[in-house]
Symmetry: D2
């Protein structure tokens, strides 16, 4: 259906993705490249103009190893053996048979033989947070989250031949389905109403009677991509002669104008009440006689005056709305929701993860003391790992570097800095991706410049253009245990 | 100061108030009369146009018994002896000496001799809720609340000769001070800033240095009235040769446009998000790069687009705002905050408080069964005691009849009725103060009409034009214990 | 059944009770008298030896006005009209028809005509806390609580002719049923098992099949008394030709050795652990191998050693048990649960309720200052209204004087005194019912003696042998408003 | 001091520990061996008879690599680089200088260079849970916990030359200090009072004035051991010319008779009240007159009767005490507190961690199905990893297999089994360490035997004597994706 779905056959594609972590000179650029690979051969501009939040996209690549490397059933087997995977927490085993959707999770750890037993008996296996265990999924999502400016998640679905694990339903996220192994027969259906278009919450399970005619009806093969917006009803079934494995990358859950307004409006009203006496004036003595549901059908000039007043005040509210502050609040949540970045070895060596001070076993002392110099070239380690906020009368840098690969596995992490150091951090943010010398930071004294750079470096927020030089390696005396 | 305070000398006044509870044919009218007496000789129209929420009003009546009857020190003495008055809960003993404000409340019940001991030692006595114990204060407030369409409260202040009990401060309510006994020297000061004009919260204690020059400087005598808006700083001291007793009637606490908007805005946003997909669309991918405090000084076209979008959505919000529903929510709080009405004997006899069924001791049975007839003439017992609301898919009549004279002494009381009966209740509300025949209620069958009238009558919400006739008084057989 | 119930016919009784509040020289004695009247002609010694917590007692008095004065249906009617009685809170309307027990409470206030309507339609009316509204019930319970040393309650039951309002069941209180009006047919049944003898909780509703043969089968007439212990199953039905009104006085709810031990044991253990290192020694390394349900059938010497050790420690616990302190904790609850005392006019005049300082309207000042003198004779106002406790490093007098007639209508009330003043309070407690001179209190200085006496007097805890003399009545100058 | 400390010089010791995980045929035996090595050359019998919970033990080994392998500063360096170590959560940096104890933790992750910077500046480094990151520490503690029958913990302390990181204090655990690197000067002091002997809680920081003369004064060298009971005050300082690294193994925190009684007594009382009517009988009416602090000095026969009654009831309590059940509750906590076991490769291959069903990448299907047979020989995988409990009317096996290496990182894990299967589990527990054939389990049918064995196996609780045979490896058809 040309109008409701965009379908592509990617005739000439020969590329496969590079799964190595690059030294990300510019993480924005790298993120864009990854996304371009994801939707290739569609161009992002076209995608966001014509498809995003509008209609599904199908890309048939006829290149079965195009999506290779992100995940595999073999990796799932390995994870089950090596990690503490729990039923119901990290993994579900489900069936959808004769119109009935069931979950079969026992309690406790999901040992590999137990999971395979369920699989052999026709259960679909859904891994809920592969990014916690798979380095490549982590990598993919940590880069895409920077591209989308919002938290990205993933589920992996393994389906035995000839079975279906889930009932038709719609989700509350934008979905990118990457077919990895085997074949799956997908059917997509339009949202059933305006109210279910771009919905805030996922649906329950539908029956065939609820959902009408499909707008797409296709067999996905390895290498293929299927995108659809939140609200699009979908169901998939593995073909009779093959299992199916795909990964669904998700984003834009609760990342809408409405969500921002929910942060913004209460604060806007609070400010308006503080700043504008009109909001603090008393209601008309007799408003209860003309307002209220029981009076809503009555044509009354006082009602009109009252409603006009409300309209005036609501219009006035706009000028009091602290939009930047509300955006910062949303950003703070984004930072907390984020995966930590995956760093390359090169990046590690130019940050706090590099050698620096270390315990020298033979000398029984610490060696390798390295210090920042005025001409040390520095930059933020990734565009999207930090956010500068004014909060509770403090200036804080919220960052995602100490986040765990488990969603909200740690509390929001922030560094409190002095108000004076704020512009230096802003300068670093706006200079990205370029390196700047510490000496060029907009701060009074060199000591202050070194100090803020050191704090950021110590928390892992900075990259230096080269590994810091050690100042003591040569001088160390070699005296036993008395460096 | 002609500009900041309006002062009157009421040369010709000869009237005193009538403290009897009338049969309130029209409670709105009665309420208006009471308020006119309160501010006499100022007319309400002038008052609300020129003074209300704007500037203080002083009326010197030279008629020392003008305010008589509302309260007296003798009544306070009687209440202390008869009621379970507790320090800190119902009554405070305080001093303001050498610029220091202190509260001297011991624990437990405030027995009269103990309170008078404090008084003899120079303590001011503040009774916090005289309406709970004084029938006349109850009467005054229960009528004024209907006039103002909001909860009214009162404090009584008794001050020993030559002392002051409180530091200069401002309150969060509109204050009407009625001087009852003795003389008090008052000084009023303008709000110190726009932000303290019509403030939402009361101030702490000020020192003389904080408050500037008084705008009013006057000795109140019995019969006088002093009104001032919230935010006006004030202090009062009893003259050296006399004690002082006054009652402060208060209203309009948290009854502003801002308070209504606090109910309205979250619901408006929720509705907008449900009804309008524009509120459910995703934020721009890169909004975090241009928005936020760290970017607020940057001139950027994307920022402008973003801000314009917010402005559009906030403007759209107006059309989704459920103003009537928010007014109903505020009204519901008003009903819960209200004092129950004071009923005259005549009113009692024409309501559920009248004879009706009763236990006949000599016959050892119930007599006096009375029933409503199609031609029974009924009306709501007071304009302001009930509110019809749609809530949680039910139609409810919230009412204040079972409220106690202690603030929030009972939970909000409501009657659930069928949606069909709603218009009959609306009809009764809009017919007020006229009586209507039960038969004329806009409902399908006579049974339904009798049923809704009976429910309202049984909860005390209805007045009949005459006491209901008893149907069994004549027929009763007189057989012992078997009526 | 001579063995299971004790029945009496009180042939010669001619007395009726005196419902006036006496000046209680000795509240213990007065309480005893009231209880003797209650169970007359049984003597208390016999009652507590043979019946209390053992078996029912029936006294048929053939003196229909014997119980008069405590309550009547006419008083119920009056209360419904004058007080704010709420369905479900203060009053229930119920039926038990064809083996089915139902409650018919509507929401809100129970207006008299509405209640009588239910009654006319065959509903029983149960008033839950008549002591709050009936001065005589208050009097009865406030005295009996002192007799029993525990909280006493009451329910009033009005039953229409020929109906039953409740299913057979047992309660968790000792019950004294005083038949007031009409006749009721009662059947009593033995507890069904040891476990249901003196139970801690009331039962649900039983059917006839559950309860066996009655041990008592009697028609109660006005003036009669029926007592039965908690656990005795009972049901009552009004005779066909008459309504029935009775009051059930209840006591000993959660006032058992077990309740005391629940306060005592945790504290005993805590003290033992603090004081005795044996309780702080480690468990045997391998106790888990021999102990636990899975090992309970195994005959093992280590188990025996372990069990013997537990036995030793539990025996040791006895010597650490702070029995007095636990009794005080229970007493504290009793004080909080209590009704305040009913004072006679004579008692009021000799306490803080007497004249003392008062507002003299004509002089516009306080007169009647009265002060305690060294030779003022004082005593505690009632034996049971206070309790001296050591708590949180403070010495506190908990008292019931500021309690309300509504159960737990106020927080526990206490006065904090100095540790030095403790013996003076003990002296007063142990001197009861005799008066002692303030000067004889065991305290260092006269000032301290006057101080503690004043604090107790001001809180209403003391009676003086005569009203305090006023010291200023003659001297007062008569100057207007400047006493 | 020969009486207060036992000191040994281990002249002939030549052994070093074997840090490999053995195939633990009998985990009880293995645990004993590890403990024997820990305290070598003292024998456990002597240790527990003369020293445990009594006095310190010092073993000077003159064998500097005796404790090697458990931990090293080099391993700390590695952990800091590889793991997400957070200041305040996993690691503290502290100083004790001029009598002042300070903690210098910044917020966030403890990157190696930052930690070494603190160290260079004289800070001690304490790692709070090395078992989470060090496999050898995990191994040591997981075995010792089985030996002690209680949770074991560990802290690692790295101290720069010439510094002290902590003030003198005592702890609430039995401490085994293993000196690993460098030298530390230790001083030990006796508990200051009986109340501080075997204390329940750790102390605050002491000054020299608080603690008297040391009972031990020694320099620990690598290979040495120092044990002391909870309550022994201690302080240690690195020698001027060397850093110091030691690990403190701790156990017996809240594992005392008192802790067991805290579980036991409330339940014993509850049972006694249910089972014995004596506990449900009412208190004497007048007990408040003779009991309570205010009466405690009065010699009164009623008091004696009352106290004797309490004594009787407390003695009776003993016979109602559910000791096994309380032990099980304590055991349940132990299981939750435990580290999971460290399994050898051999053990893994004979349990659910072995091959079993697995994904065969080339065949694109699951292969290796293995099933238990009647003659399969099974045993519990470790003596101490599970506990059979009756709880909430269910039979549950609590186990520690799914615990994380972070304390309480997962909820308590249990398997619910049928009451019938209970004896089979008991049989397995009591058969340990011997293998038994599934067929020999005391259960009705073979299916039931296989079923309970499978459930235990699937949760990782069973070892088989040999790896299970795969039943499908030969038969598998090799057809692509359709096994």
């Amino acid at each position: 259906d040309i109008e409701q779905v965009m379908s592509f056959t990617d005739e000439n594609n020969t590329g496969v993705w590079d799964h190595n972590v690059p030294y990300m000179f510019n993480s924005t650029e790298e993120a864009k490249k990854i996304f371009e690979c994801l939707i290739h051969p569609i161009k992002p501009d076209k995608f966001f103009k014509e498809l995003w939040e509008r209609k599904p996209l199908l890309v048939r690549r006829h290149l079965e190893n195009y999506n290779d490397g992100w995940f595999s059933t073999a990796e799932l087997d390995k994870i089950l053996r090596q990690e503490n995977i729990h039923f119901g927490v990290n993994l579900d085993v489900t069936t959808f048979t004769d119109g009935k959707r069931e979950t079969h999770n026992p309690a406790g750890r999901a040992h590999a033989p137990v999971v395979w037993d369920f699989y052999q008996n026709g259960c679909s296996v859904r891994m809920l947070n592969p990014q916690t265990y798979s380095r490549n999924v982590w990598k993919l999502l940590s880069v895409l989250q920077e591209y989308f400016g919002c938290c990205c998640g993933a589920n992996v679905y393994l389906t035995p031949p000839g079975t279906q694990g889930f009932a038709p339903h719609y989700d509350d996220i934008e979905a990118f389905i990457l077919q990895l192994e085997g074949k799956k027969y997908w059917r997509l259906y339009s949202p059933r109403s305006d109210a279910e278009t771009l919905p805030r919450l996922s649906s329950g399970n539908f029956s065939e009677d609820d959902i009408g005619e499909p707008i797409l009806d296709v067999v996905l093969e390895p290498g293929d991509l299927l995108y659809f917006p939140r609200g699009v009803i979908h169901q998939g079934k593995a073909l009779e002669d093959t299992h199916s494995l795909h990964i669904t990358v998700s984003c834009y859950q609760k990342n809408t104008w409405g969500d921002l307004l929910e942060k913004l409006m209460p604060r806007a009203l609070q400010i308006a009440i503080e700043e504008d006496v009109d909001f603090r004036k008393g209601l008309p003595r007799d408003y209860m006689d003309v307002m209220g549901i029981a009076n809503s059908d009555i044509d009354n000039p006082q009602r009109k005056v009252f409603l006009r007043k409300i309209q005036q005040l609501m219009t006035k509210l706009i000028s009091h709305a602290p939009v930047d502050s509300a955006c910062d609040q949303l950003s703070k949540h984004y930072i907390h929701d984020s995966l930590p970045p995956v760093l390359s070895e090169a990046e590690k060596s130019c940050s706090v993860h590099g050698d620096g001070e270390r315990w020298e076993k033979s000398k029984k002392c610490v060696v390798g003391t390295a210090e920042m110099e005025p001409d040390t070239q520095i930059k933020i380690i990734r565009k999207g790992v930090l956010r500068l906020l004014a909060e509770d009368d403090d200036v804080r840098i919220y960052h995602s570097l100490d986040n765990t690969r488990i969603y909200h596995g740690s509390d929001p992490q922030y560094i409190e800095i002095s108000a004076e150091a704020g512009p230096a951090v802003e300068y670093l943010i706006h200079s990205y991706p370029e390196y700047v010398a510490i000496d060029s930071l907009p701060l009074g004294t060199l000591d202050e410049k070194i100090a803020i750079a050191s704090v950021l470096y110590d928390h892992g927020l900075l990259l230096t253009s080269e590994p810091l030089d050690s100042i003591d390696d040569d001088e160390s005396s070699g005296e036993p245990d008395n460096c």
